[in-house]
Amino acid sequence: MKTVVELENVSVFYGNVRAISDISLKIEEKEFLGIIGPNGSGKSTILKLIAGLVKPSSGSVQVLGLPPCNTHGKIGYVPQRFNLNRDFPFSVTEAVLTGRLTKHNLFMHQYADTDFTAVEDIMHKLEIYDLKDRQIGQLSGGQMQRVLIARALVMEPEILLLDEPTASLDAGSKSHIYSLLKDINEYITIIMVSHDMGVVSSYVKSLACLNVSLFYHGAPELTDTLLGQVYGCPVELLAHGVPHRVLPQHGEGYHD
């Protein structure tokens, strides 16, 4: 197995805030890694490191054997928050098309027919083809999320990073997205942050538990003790594949 992402003793500080501390993590090719952890535990920061959006304060990050600033076009990224301009005069098709742009041919760039075909295919797969002419500001949160997943997939990336991609989706769309990801995982590595622990452990191949430090990286089987450590409160662990619940008296601090 080839290692596609390698973090070595990585720490990230935002000013004085330590977001992640001394993390070492290897991710293999075609891994489907789920990352869980409480709010502010550095989950988004890990994805941003891999995407090259954040630089490590110390330690080293290698993605596909390169520093993350040289992997453009090979990494698809679906952000957690939409920092994008939702009032932008853009149709859904145009927004997804931007995933086909690369830094190599910006001069007088025109999208080719193959780009349009790829975009149509992916929109069908994510069931957003009906929305293709809709202005992006007129989408619901869940529809927008699917548009952003489509935009990342249409890049045909080698690694797909998803930051809580199903947070605003209904149950049906969630399982649709997860099974789609499972199919795609046959060709590409997927790293996904999620709060749906039950669902995550039944789809992903491995799991990382994060709370500033890395507490666990391995098979998607969690123990009470581990979750207690990570979340800082007792967690009731039910059978594999069934949603785990935080005990009611410690209800806070689990979900976003």
Binding site: A51, N83, N85, D87, F90, S91, E94, T98, L101, F107
Partner: protein, 272 residues
């Protein structure tokens, strides 16, 4: 007026500069609305006044001074906003006032009779000279050329800067280019509507246009057309009634914006 246009050089200059200004304005105005750089553009415009003063002081063409000040302040403001912890608005406010102050000081230091600065503050399209027109043409070529050649890159960047960075677009460079193009646009507009009124001509046409289309280049084209209508309308009113052209253009533009916003979309009229 048509006959006068054929006969009088100053009217021809005014006519062409109205059209050229509208082109720069429609393209860059659309971008500053999408990137929320409206106040930023106002700041660059006012800072450019320092360059006007410097031009008088050094005895060079004031618009060239304005060009230098506008470009340097645009890049300076951007740099200070990114590289320091000073609140971006504060940086902008300081440059804004400092530019005006420097302009007044330079003019005070200039020996001889003080020049008439109102045409730079409020525009006077009827006094556009041949040199002004040449400067305007060059600025327009740079603006239109840059945006047209890298249109898809700018579009992607304007929509989602973070994603643009992920796919490897040179986002810092694109941002710098946009700031410089705003500075060039400011220079183009100084003679037409003047430093104080630039913001309205930059924002009114695209704010109207984006209520009618969901495509970036259509917004730009429609903005250009609206700009031409406002500028030529203002020019005509000003010529016929003998009132200041810059003010006439702005009143027409802003009135049209409000009327259309209220008619077209009452709920949206409250925010741009």
């Amino acid at each position: 007026m048509i006959e006068a246009l054929l006969n009088y050089n100053f009217l021809q200059n005014a006519f062409f500069s109205a059209i050229l200004a509208s082109i720069a304005c429609g393209i860059i105005g659309t971008i500053i609305i999408e990137k929320q750089l409206v106040m930023m553009s106002g700041g660059i415009a006012h800072t450019a006044f320092g360059g006007i003063g410097l031009g008088y002081y050094l005895g060079i063409e004031p618009l060239i001074g304005a060009l230098g000040f506008a470009v340097l302040s645009a890049l300076g403001i951007r740099r200070l906003q990114h590289k320091t912890h000073i609140t971006p608005e504060v940086v902008l406010g300081m440059f804004w006032a400092l530019g005006m102050a420097l302009g007044i000081l330079f003019i005070a230091f200039t020996p001889g009779y003080p020049p008439d600065i109102t045409s730079y503050l409020f525009g006077d399209i009827l006094t556009v000279s041949r040199l002004d027109l040449i400067i305007t043409i060059i600025m327009n070529l740079i603006i239109v050329g840059t945006i047209a050649v890298f249109f898809n890159a700018f579009k992607t960047y304007l929509f989602d800067e973070e994603f643009a960075q992920v796919i490897g677009l040179p986002t810092a460079l694109l941002e710098n280019i946009i700031y410089v193009l705003v500075a060039l646009t400011v220079v183009v507009l100084i003679r037409v509507v003047g430093i104080m009124l630039i913001i309205a001509l930059l924002t009114a046409p695209p704010s109207i246009a984006r209520q009618y289309t969901y495509s970036l280049h259509h917004t730009m084209i429609l903005s250009i057309a609206l700009g031409i209508i406002f500028c030529l309308g203002g020019l005509w009113v000003s010529y016929v009634m003998g009132i200041p052209s810059g003010a006439a253009i702005i009143v027409i533009a802003v009135a049209t914006y409000f009327i259309i916003s209220v008619i077209k979309n009452p709920a949206r009229a409250s925010h741009i």
